[in-house]
């Protein structure tokens, strides 16, 4: 017999409201904006399916990031396999402009990181996951996970640092 209170779990809607944005940022960091929507949908659909089995006191965000990681890996693999355009493109309207607008250089910078660095940066810095958990997800040692995160951040900093040559620095303050 368990006291009822231990068994209570938030409605899944609250989980989507609280974690939806973080999971989407994680998916975008790992996959890029284009595939992130599909990965997000796969993640929350799978999470909804297995939500009743999640222990009541569990860390919901870590659980979601773990699912998102697997779904993103599926997408990365599918992307690698895909030499030709897909037969059935996802049914969705295109959004105008680049989500997050005005910083294509940043998208680019993230996209150019090796996948492990992108993952480590996303899971640690966006989702706040400890490196020992990230290590488990990535199948590497905690030290290696930490190094991936640090290298990723270093590369991002380098890519995004104000250039010594000022010719391309105008986009920064444009939209203000």
């Amino acid at each position: 017999m368990q006291p009822r209170q231990l068994a209570t779990k938030k409605p899944f809607e609250a989980v989507v409201q609280e974690q939806g944005a973080t999971v989407l940022r994680v998916c975008r960091a790992v996959l890029g904006v284009h595939d992130a929507d599909d990965a997000w949908s796969d993640t929350f659909l799978a999470a909804l399916q297995s939500y009743p089995a999640l222990p009541a006191g569990a860390n919901v965000q870590a659980w979601l990031v773990t699912i998102a990681h697997r779904k993103c890996v599926d997408h990365l693999r599918a992307g690698n396999r895909r030499a030709l355009p897909t037969d059935n493109p996802p049914e969705q309207s295109s959004r105008l402009g680049i989500p997050g607008g005005g910083h294509p250089e940043l998208l680019d910078a993230v996209a150019h990181l090796p996948p492990k660095q992108r993952q480590a940066v996303a899971y640690h810095y966006i989702a706040g996951m400890p490196y020992k958990d990230i290590a488990e997800l990535l199948g590497v040692t905690p030290e290696a996970a930490r190094r991936s995160g640090a290298d990723g951040v270093k590369a991002l900093r380098a890519a995004l640092a104000p250039k010594p040559v000022l010719a391309h620095s105008s986009p920064k303050g444009d939209s203000k």
């Binding site: 909804l48 993230v110 966006i126």
Partner: protein, 208 residues
């Protein structure tokens, strides 16, 4: 320059936010897609939506068997959803389409066009004598009232007047199952889980 600066979360997030920060527009359509997919895959145990009405915002919730809960604002919708999560299933999403029909019929009712509801109801949140009381209530015609004692008789337990009161007070489907048509024998309104103002408003609407 330090050799290995340990960047903190805030700084890196600041670095990433311009790209990944603007997720809100995408989230709305992703939520709608999730609700639709979950419905198709039968993984959505409770769908809900909130509608405006002359008696305040109403929470409407439905299982795959039918409408399971109507709740007034004063009952606190967040609390109600938590109760549904505890008693039915935590697989709950705001998924308005499952409740399109109910919302439309309520709208017609509040405009005075509709005199009775034609909806499939899920009575799983009630049982026993309370259930037999609730099943009797739709037989009280629009614009009519019955006393708690009359309902007790109709439900087969003439002495269970107080139990009729608690059946009405715990009606999971107010407005649709018209517990507002049960009043005190002296003609006064009696209590109502939506507040006495709401009960007065409903009876006034039906008397028009």
């Amino acid at each position: 320059m330090t050799l290995d600066p340990s960047p903190d979360l805030a700084e890196v997030n600041q670095l990433l936010t311009p790209t990944f920060g603007d997720v809100e527009p995408a989230l709305a359509s992703l939520h709608a897609r999730l609700a639709r997919d979950a419905q198709l895959l039968h993984t959505l145990d409770v769908a809900y939506r909130v509608v405006d009405s002359p008696v305040g915002k109403l929470l409407l919730a439905a299982t795959d068997r039918g409408i399971v809960r109507v709740a007034f604002e004063r009952e606190n919708h967040t609390d109600i959803l938590q109760v549904l999560a505890n008693t039915i299933s935590p697989r709950i999403l705001e998924a308005p389409t499952r409740l399109d029909n109910a919302a439309r019929q309520l709208d017609e009712y509040f405009s005075g066009i509709r005199k009775e509801f034609d909806l499939v109801l899920d009575f799983r949140l009630t049982r026993g004598f309370r259930l037999s009381v609730l099943q009797h209530l739709p037989r009280i015609a629009y614009g009519e009232t019955e006393s708690y004692a009359e309902v007790a008789r109709a439900a087969g337990s003439p002495n269970a007047v107080r139990a009729v009161g608690s059946a009405c007070a715990t009606n999971p489907l107010p407005v649709i199952v018209p517990c507002h048509r049960v009043v005190k024998s002296d003609g006064s309104f009696g209590g109502y889980l939506g507040g006495s103002e709401a009960k007065r408003a409903l009876l006034t609407l039906e008397a028009a």
